[in-house]
Symmetry: C2
Subunit: 252 residues, 2 copies
DNA sequence: TAGTGGTCTAGACCACGCC
DNA sequence: GCGTGGTCTAGACCACTAT
């Protein structure tokens, strides 16, 4: 009868490791502090490096750690709140928005975007690239798809290049009355170009915010913004800009 | 010279694999179809199983695949749009909301939630557990934290248990006037209990939606809802419930 | 150049769902 | 039981950063 209930559910090693590391981060490390390297940590816990990495990956996914090749693993600060829904009823590029136009060129949007814009799949649209910086760090990269018909006043002649052209497109777009906008948030992984803009490796987890701008009864533009999922908490303030700022709500 | 620019940026194998698989999914497989098992796929592509798995993991993260232990890997349907912001100004549990109360018990909230509620860190609150089902599939699990002071009319006497108790708490909560709500969305990983409710393994990626309900000038309740990140696209309709429904907006 | 995290291999065993 | 995906190992080499 000596058998008291033992380990009916053997917890995976990496899961237990994650818990132990998480508690150590809370009690023994300061934000920005650098952890021992992976080989030493693995040896210290008596596991293979791959197993340790599985735990570190999850902690990075949860925004607790930041890993940089050639540098090391550091303790991440709490995620920053990034306002996404605050500028209700404002066009992209309106005064005081958080985005910085980077470029603009014609191109064909992905199939899903073309469907929302109700353009032909291979019809060219303006593609405006913008980036968003918060607290000195790039947090998001955006592609804004504007059908030629939404900025019909733009002829091919008065077209500068780069950021200047982007600003012109945004200015023309804002001449319409904005009737509303729909948003969707989903998980994705960074494409190569996004990853570069966000200072991450390709495939890094991102929150993809798709916004549809409605004007004159149709979709006047579509924005696809990819936010760094490790450092950002997207905030949607429906109650007049009251601030939420706090630590993590969830523990392992 | 003969040296045309070759491979200045050697792409990782798993990244290339992901691209190849992604294209194959688009052209050669139907939704729900089952893929060859991992050992065979790895052999077919001439890589180690771990490398193949790295590609599959990313595709699952992007909602393209669904893997189930003991069963196999299947092609996932497009993510379903899950309305999150539609019921503006409605209390949880209001008529027609998508949630099903499961349980209710007193307990102490995590530190971050206590801070939002402005309760003492070890002060007990009502914790209502609810789940959300969409298209026959569980998509979210929620913990709703309601301070005792928000439902002061509830004495310890008239307290049933389980779902009935949950409904009573929600009903009492709704007696206040709702003044507004703040929301935040961030990436997390499923705790063991959430994973069970969502029919996933612990650590699965989830979208954590934190909602703060404001009434009488203070935070009357806080909801922490974890949505399956692989199957859900959270939609925030600001323009009167116009539907977005479409395929993926992003390609690899 | 030294040290870091990122990629990759070729195995092994385990937990789970189904038959 | 059998086949599946999930976990784990002990190595190797590569890409990047800082010195």
């Amino acid at each position: 009868m000596g058998t008291t209930q033992l380990e009916t559910v053997p917890e995976p090693k990496y899961w237990h490791l994650k818990t132990v590391l998480s508690e150590a981060l809370d009690s023994e490390f300061a934000v920005g502090e650098i952890l021992p390297n992976e080989r030493e940590l693995a040896a210290r816990f008596g596991v293979a490096r791959a197993t340790l990495r599985q735990a570190l990956e999850q902690l990075e996914l949860e925004g607790r750690l930041q890993r940089r090749r050639g540098v090391g693993t550091t303790v991440a600060p709490p995620r920053m709140g990034v306002p996404v829904g605050s500028a209700q009823g404002a066009w992209p590029g309106a005064a005081g928005d958080a985005w910085q136009p980077a470029d603009c060129a014609p191109g064909t949007p992905p199939a899903g975007v073309a469907r929302m814009l109700e353009t032909h799949p291979d019809e060219q649209v303006h593609i405006v690239r913008r980036t968003r910086v918060s607290q000195g760090q790039p947090v998001a990269a955006e592609l804004l798809y504007v059908p030629m018909s939404s900025v019909a006043e733009l002829t091919g002649m008065d077209a500068p290049s780069g950021a200047a052209r982007a600003r012109v497109v945004l200015r023309e777009l804002a001449r319409h009355g904005l009737e509303g906008q729909d948003r969707a948030v989903e998980l994705g992984s960074a494409r190569a170009d996004d990853a570069k803009a966000l200072d991450r490796l390709p495939g890094a987890p991102v929150l993809v915010v798709t916004t549809r701008f409605l004007a004159e009864g149709r979709t006047a533009a579509v924005s696809v913004a990819t936010y760094r999922a490790d450092t950002c908490r997207l905030t949607f303030g429906d109650s007049g800009g009251v601030e939420i700022h706090h630590g993590p709500q969830r523990q392992a």
